[in-house]
């Protein structure tokens, strides 16, 4: 099977994609509605928490962070998919990424926005969040640049703004298509504005290519640094179970992993909702699945490395935390993480599952669950079982406000993401055209070569 049909007409591509922006299946609205409802739950929780205090989330001393930070890492991790597909695979000339990188980039942008929300939700004094923004206040105070949280803020700001720019720049030719082919109305005005007068001239294309490549080059180390810094939030601290050298690599692998599985999930949803069967083809899904499988195995390996290095370290406190994860009150979740993260992906190794959409949908959801559990299992056990035995606390579990907020974050993300897919082309038209064009050229060349051989 082919990634994409070479004989697909370019006008057809325009038409199909533009149609997605106007008339998706009904399911789209159902999803949007439920996403909004979930988001409202979170707004309610936040209002309650903001008014009453963080205590309502059932956090305490020592459980100072809980699900907010776990879910924050989860969303940050998910954002790495976009960079992987658009930047890394772009540099590697893997052209099968072309129909799916746009939504992957959107995934990056919106999951970062969701993650950013958790930073805010987490703050005890949200109304003073600007104290950690780097500007000198009226007394000449700056934030503390030594804090990994500040690096986080800086890295996420850089990553978010770069991702948005990357997404936008990559979309300009498509915006021009929208401008040219959509009916009059506010959207046309919007696209006219956003497409910056793009006409596809050779000069524009030439600079576009260089720019796109350069930003891709910036984005790759940036993405790695972002999740390394999130890992540094933990690794730079002194706590048992966190102070682990392999954390940055482990986090980055986990990030790519969760990003890939999220792509599979969204791939399947978008394919159905926007009728993209022609572009988001099963062979592309298969490639994504194989990539996911490979990353899952890397993650499993790094997980094992982390456990082994703790186990052989003579650091009794860290060992205790590990034992606590395996057999303590967190054991069901920890084993759930191992099952979802390391066992379930083994299914992806079987060819017959690699293109089985229902199975993949379920598997990708399980992988995501596993990755969420992974983040929780990084954060919570160290709090419950830290250096100081007197303050060990195995009885404190996240309250409904925390769960509500986690639930709502999925709603918020889905809302933004689905909104984006309706307003902007979620399949890159010009890149699909390029793909089709190059495939055709390639086909022609090989046919010529074959004839020559005869």
């Amino acid at each position: 099977m082919k990634d994409i049909r070479e004989d697909i007409a370019w006008a057809q591509i325009n038409q199909d994609v533009l149609k997605s922006m106007e008339s998706p299946r009904k399911l789209y609205w159902v999803i949007l509605f439920f996403a909004f409802a979930a988001f409202c739950v979170g707004v309610g929780c936040e209002v309650y928490q903001y008014q009453t205090g963080m205590g309502v989330a059932n956090k305490n001393n020592p459980h100072a962070w809980g699900l907010y930070i776990s879910t924050f890492i989860f969303w940050i991790g998910m954002s790495h998919s976009g960079t992987l597909l658009s930047a890394i695979l772009h540099l590697m000339h893997a052209d099968w990424r072309k129909p799916i990188f746009r939504f992957a980039e959107a995934l990056t942008t919106f999951s970062l926005m969701t993650a950013g929300l958790f930073v805010m939700v987490h703050l005890g004094r949200l109304w003073q969040f600007y104290y950690s923004v780097p500007y000198p206040d009226e007394r000449g105070l700056w934030p503390n640049f030594q804090s990994p949280l500040l690096w986080d803020a800086m890295a996420i700001f850089t990553y978010l703004s770069s991702s948005i720019l990357f997404l936008y720049i990559g979309m300009i030719p498509d915006l021009a298509i929208c401008r040219d082919h959509l009916h009059e109305g506010w959207r046309k005005k919007l696209y006219t504005l956003l497409s910056l007068g793009w006409e596809g001239t050779d000069r524009q294309w030439r600079n576009f290519r260089v720019t796109y490549l350069t930003i891709a080059c910036f984005l790759i180390p940036l993405a790695v640094s972002v999740h390394s810094i999130v890992a540094a939030d933990f690794a730079m601290s002194q706590q048992p179970g966190w102070h682990v050298t392999s954390f940055p690599a482990y986090f980055v692998a986990g990030a790519l992993y969760s990003g890939c599985s999220a792509i599979i999930t969204l791939f399947i949803i978008l394919r159905y909702v926007f009728k993209f069967e022609e572009y988001m083809t099963l062979p592309i899904l298969k490639k994504t699945v194989r990539l996911t499988f490979a990353i899952a195995m890397i993650w499993t390996y790094l997980n094992a490395v982390e456990f082994a290095s703790v186990w052989y370290s003579h650091d009794q406190a860290s060992k205790d935390v590990l034992i606590q994860k395996v057999v303590g009150p967190f054991a069901p979740f920890w084993w759930g993480m191992i099952f979802c993260g390391s066992v379930v992906p083994l299914m992806l190794a079987f060819k017959r599952f690699q293109t089985n959409v229902p199975v993949l949908f379920v598997v990708s959801l399980l992988l995501n669950l596993g990755m969420w559990l992974e983040r929780w299992m990084i954060v919570a056990p160290t709090f419950s079982h830290g250096y100081y035995p007197w303050t060990w606390d195995h009885d404190q579990w996240p309250g409904f406000v925390q769960w509500g907020m986690v639930f709502a974050s999925f709603g918020w993300f889905t809302m933004l993401f689905m909104g984006f897919c309706k307003v902007f082309p979620s399949v890159s038209m010009y890149e699909v055209k390029e793909m089709v064009y190059h495939r055709k050229l390639h086909l022609k060349n090989s046919e010529t070569a074959e004839q020559g051989a005869h």
Partner: protein, 732 residues
């Protein structure tokens, strides 16, 4: 400022007049925000009230009877914090947690604020004049012997005035009741040493062998003993003092012992005699009396291994002087006095009397000497009430409805008195049963003198003075009330005293020569006395007169197992809650019990082995049933308790008192059997037998201890070394 033409004086005036204008336009007090705050003009503030600067006043802590002197920090007319007064020989500038919480007694939101008269099931507010008239009326209708006055321990001029008042109404029934007083010890000490409360020099002892005396927690004068204990640990001649604690339930003192010896409940006396026998230092009839107590028998009866008895005896022999203390845990039995006698005998045998046990000074004015509370008084009162002897009952500083053993049915008997007057800080369980409730000033706004029962060095009279203005307009000092009442009968004698302050001042000045103010003029002496907060007296030092004697010393065999109620109930006395009168002070509720770290609730201490046997785990709600009733509380697995015993702390389980006390925990007083010490008639608090059963409910125990329990997981947090590894002489 200058531009606007407003100078500083005008500015202050504006502030002052602002308040005044509001007062003129409104009515009564100057108030803003619907009376939430009062504008006080500092322009006319008293000299000492400098905004931002704290002033300190000496007074006396009234949270327990130990008589610690305190030093209150007052700022802007509000008392903020209590510290110890360094000049006092009793506490030398130190305080306990209970004492610290004194301010919460004063500022307590649940204090009674108005005199209240019962109308059916409810109280209604009346005026003081009406209240006094009502008392006079009721007393006119009753003969002297039909009136009873129940009080806690009182001393000083309040006691004098109370005595005079009772005499004026012909009442001879003054019951001085303290639920947790060392009354058996007093009697036993009197017999053994000739003095009820001799001076115990813990700091001079090289070994302290304590039979259930929680002198660091709640026994007699804990702050004083704690300081002695610190010196004792530093050691005499560089030799660190050794503390051995024998008891069935670990107390705070037991937790600090070098060796904590769990003993079968009630066999403390047997162990004491066994040690005397093992020492082999006694002669004559003592030797003969203890002869039968060989180590094997004693070990069998007490459950203490023979080797342990050997070691204790050897140590006592080796290191002298030592000090043996008999505490309430050893005395709370029907044979409590016998136990105490056996234990005190040990001091004689070891030759400690006169060295670590010395005669104490006492105040020569016997009229002011403390009226010592006990539980025998409760029994007499209860009997009288049951017989319907009393028409009028006054109660002050005692809450017998809460603290009387359930078996006495005190609440029912109380109802037989026609007219009950309660002088109360809170609407406690007893006040709720009263017909007339009269609100008292807190100890931080009242005048008094206090004579401590346990004199640390020389004799002293403590001065209690107001640290700030009254918080509530309609509360009265107990002295003022008594003065008003006594004036009803003897107006002529007391007419020159407008209030209790005047009475007190006159009384002190009258005798200033004896109080060390010989040469000074009245005002100087008075101000000096108030400044110091303590009057140190020459006092009289009685001689120790008791002799070692075994006459009448017979110890019963250890009690047989009770099939129906197999466990001993040990009512736990905690340092902060004691008999529960201060349970409405939130700091005390939230201050973890030192041993279990539990807060805000009661618990049942049970040994882990026993718990395993009964299938009990931490947090199970247990029903503890005695012959007299049952209570429910959460289980806490506690290694520091004899497996044959359980312990439930006293002080919680109020169904009145206030928002911080009501509904928290269970009250073990309710299930105590009415068993009394055969000699003194004191309530034998440890004689109650119980059984426990699981109710099936389970809760998370609210405590400070984390999920690791009391384990350090080898992390070297609280480190310990033994005496042979340490060289204390190098220390500063």
């Amino acid at each position: 400022m200058i531009d606007s033409g407003l100078d500083r004086r005008d500015f202050l005036k504006v502030l002052g007049w602002g308040g005044a204008a509001a007062a003129l336009s409104g009515c009564g007090n100057t108030s803003i925000e619907d009376g939430k705050e009062t504008v006080v003009s500092y322009v006319e503030a008293a000299d000492y009230a400098i905004p931002g600067i704290g002033v300190y006043y000496n007074s006396t802590c009234a949270q327990c009877d130990a008589g610690c002197s305190i030093n209150g920090r007052v700022r802007e007319g509000r008392v903020l914090k209590l510290e110890g007064n360094p000049a006092s020989a009793i506490n030398r500038g130190k305080t306990c947690g209970l004492g610290q919480a004194g301010v919460q007694h004063h500022y307590n939101p649940d204090r009674v604020r108005e005199p209240m008269l019962r109308k059916g099931d409810k109280f209604e507010t009346i005026t003081w004049d009406k209240a006094y008239a009502l008392i006079a009326e009721k007393l006119n209708g009753a003969k002297g012997e039909e009136v009873a006055f129940l009080s806690g321990g009182v001393s000083g001029h309040l006691k004098v005035l109370l005595g005079n008042y009772l005499a004026s109404i012909g009442c001879k029934n003054h019951y001085v009741y303290e639920a947790l007083a060392p009354a058996v010890a007093r009697a036993a000490n009197k017999k053994a040493y000739g003095i009820e409360m001799p001076r115990f020099n813990i700091n001079k002892a090289k070994v302290v062998l304590s039979f259930g005396a929680d002198f660091l927690g709640s026994w007699v004068s804990p702050v004083h003993f704690s300081q002695q204990y610190a010196q004792f640990r530093k050691g005499v001649d560089g030799q660190r003092g050794v503390l051995i604690q024998v008891e069935s339930k670990m107390t705070l003192t037991g937790a600090n012992a070098d060796r904590w010896v769990p003993v079968r409940p009630g066999t403390e006396g047997i162990l004491a005699l066994g040690i005397i026998n093992e020492l082999g230092m006694a002669s004559g009839d003592i030797a003969a009396a203890v002869k039968g107590y060989d180590r094997i028998r004693v070990s069998k009866e007490t459950g203490v291994p023979p080797g342990q008895i050997d070691k204790i005896a050897a140590l006592l022999k080796l290191r002298s002087p030592s000090l043996v203390l008999a505490g309430s845990a050893a005395e709370g039995y029907a044979h409590g006095s016998q136990n105490a006698a056996a234990i005190n005998l040990l001091n004689h045998v070891l030759g400690n009397v006169g060295k670590t046990i010395e005669a104490s000074s006492s105040v020569t004015f016997t009229q002011m000497a403390p009226a010592k509370g006990n539980t025998a008084a409760l029994k007499s009162l209860n009997d009288g009430l049951a017989a319907g002897k009393y028409k009028v009952l006054f109660s002050y500083a005692a809450n017998p409805v809460f603290t009387a053993p359930g078996a006495l049915k005190f609440k029912d008997n109380l109802a037989k008195a026609d007219f009950k007057v309660s002088f109360a800080h809170y609407l406690d369980e007893t006040a709720l049963q009263a017909d007339l409730v009269l609100p008292l000033d807190s100890a931080l706004e009242d005048w008094n003198t206090q004579v401590p029962e346990y004199m640390a060095e020389g004799a002293q009279i403590n001065i209690q003075q107001p640290l700030m203005e009254k918080l509530h307009a309609n509360t009265r000092g107990m002295g003022d009330i008594l003065l008003a009442l006594v004036k009803q009968r003897r107006a002529e004698e007391y007419k020159s005293f407008d209030d209790y302050y005047a009475y007190l001042r006159a009384a002190m000045l009258q005798n200033k020569g004896a109080l060390g103010g010989g040469g000074a003029d009245d005002d100087t002496f008075w101000n000096d006395t108030l400044t110091k907060g303590i009057v140190k007296l020459a006092g009289s030092s009685g001689a120790l007169s008791g002799k070692a004697s075994v006459v009448g010393l017979t110890l019963p065999a250890p009690s047989a197992a009770d099939a129906q109620y197999p466990l001993h109930l040990i009512p736990g006395v905690t340092a902060s809650l004691r008999d529960g009168r201060h349970a409405n002070q939130p700091w005390l509720q939230e201050s973890p019990d030192p041993l279990t770290t539990i807060v805000w609730d009661s618990w049942v201490e049970i040994h882990p082995k026993k718990a395993a046997e009964l299938g009990i785990k931490e947090g199970d709600i247990l029903e503890v049933t005695s012959r007299s009733g049952s209570i429910k509380a959460q289980a806490y697995l506690f290694p520091g308790i004899h497996p044959d015993a359980i312990s439930v702390p006293l002080g919680r389980g109020h169904d009145a008192l206030g928002r911080y006390a009501k509904g928290y925990g269970a009250n073990p007083f309710q299930i105590l059997d009415a068993v009394f010490d055969q000699e003194t008639g004191e309530l034998a608090m440890h004689e109650t037998r119980v059984k426990v059963s699981k109710t099936g409910q389970c809760v998370i125990v609210v405590k400070d201890e984390g999920s690791a329990g009391g384990k350090q997981m080898g992390r070297k947090i609280a480190v310990s070394m033994s005496t042979d590894e340490v060289d204390l002489s190098k220390e500063v």
